[in-house]
Amino acid sequence: MLLEALTLGLSTGTYCAVSCAPVALPLFVSDEASGGENAARVGLFMGGRLAAYVLIGFLLGAVGAYAAGYLAPALRSVLTRSAAALGGAVLIAAGIARGTGGHRACVLLRRAAKPGRAAFAAGIATGLSPCAPFFAAASRAAGTGGAAGAAYFGAFFIGTSLWFLPLFGVHAVSGRAPELRRVARLGMIALGVYFLAVPAVMGAR
């Protein structure tokens, strides 16, 4: 079963990566970091994803098929809104914090939204985001028992992680392009507002 989860992650990981890219890429592209710093932050991001996956896997495994079947639409809506809200808040906070403002509020925000913290929180947000491969994994993990469900999602995470490896090289591009970092920083604030506003205005996607 774990092998199945691994291959599910490997085969559908492109979809996962594309679905997480709108949160992950702006965050890492806007960051001025060395190779080591970037690697540590990507590691924290992946840690956040793993934590969210294991938690969801455990809950689905423990609660059972009831959650994946009858509650699926409601569960999807709750997860989408939560992921969008958390991802949006992280992008706005990190985007403002990476500015050069000297205002007291900016300084406080800069302390609160340190790059490592922002990466971990963004990882949780993308881990909660229910894309199609996520639901495929959820339908298999549901009802297998808490530990088995968590393990299933853990193996699924390992499979999908292959497609996130390019994040380790982002600093090589963004480090040489200050305008790209500036565009990404302003763009992530706009994306954050969108992630917060659209589910509120239009309902979950």
Binding site: S19, A21, V23, V183
Partner: protein, 414 residues
Amino acid sequence: MNASAARRGFSWPSVAILGLILGSFLKFFLVDVGDGRSPVAGAVAAAAVLALYVAMLKTGDIGRWRRVFFVLIAACFAPSFIAELVESRGAMSLSAADIFKNETPFCHIVIPMTILPHLSTGKFIFPARLEGHYASVYSMVAVWFIATVTLGRGWCSWVCFYGGWDDGFSRSRKKALLPLEKHASRFRVLPKVVLFFVVFASLWSLAPVYCTWLCPFKTITEFNEIVDAGSYIALIAAATLFLSLAVVLPALTRRRTQCSAFCPFGAFQSLLDRFSPYGVKIDRAKCVDCGACSAACPSLALDAAVVKSGNIPATCVKCGDCVSACARGAIDYRFKWQDAGGGSLALRLRERVKADGPAGKALRALLLVLDEIASPRALLATNGVLIGAIVGGSFMSDTLVRLWRLATTGSFIG
């Protein structure tokens, strides 16, 4: 027209040769292949376009006559497009049924935001026909590709059927009430931010976010049927953006605020401008830093720092306003591989012809004509007018037919 522009007008033989070449293309695209429209209206539209082209070349004032051409396309596009929508589906608004039938006209602004979803899912996240219509995906992408490898960012001054709105309003006052030149570098980055936003937001939602929420031109084309709070907010947003970015701010600032500070497609074209052979270059040996070019630049591509450096950014829309404004001829269209002050091979050969007899005079005249018709100025203008006419010419002839119908029957819609 200023004096410098007059000095750099083309000779009549060159204008005649270039006019014949463009005229034959215009006859083919607007009269022979008129999309079923009246050949008389097509001929009138082709003649009008040709007259503007001749004015560009003969006067040398490309900026002024290009603007007349460009505004004419935009002014004809909106009424023609709306009338066709009303005739084909009975309303200017787009219903859910139209979307499910893939009946939404595809516009070029959608191209950058559909690329990543297309690569990741294999599908176009836009409910348009793929082929068989002038506004289908394949026909628009084909025109865009040809324009990109020829004009590059020049699309935004020669082809885009929306750009004429802010271009026209940006010249409605002689002096700017809100000067933006000092902040030009800040404004230049904004379209890239909008592009960054729409690409990732479209990827996240797998929906054309710009069209749904941000396109100002929904106001003068089609808008989503109002069925809920979201569609109502979207329409108010579109109307507000149109009035502010395409009408009021251009009039107050004398800048094309929609195109140079908001449009994500403009940013996309700037990224692809490296594939265009044409650019605008400053000859620093002639430049006296008078600021006339940066004051005239409607796209905020020029400011004092840019002029001093001599490196014009890829946000330049190649409109020709700076070329017309420079009294010293220090700024001009160039091929990208040319030096700012370098002459052409034909001109260098012409200088070597020393014979004063009739043969010498004839050879010098021939080399002058060769220099003019192979110059980046002539080739860019020819490319721009031709592609602009291919895209916008049918709207011009259609509007003519509708105006005739309005005058004779009292109805603009058939």
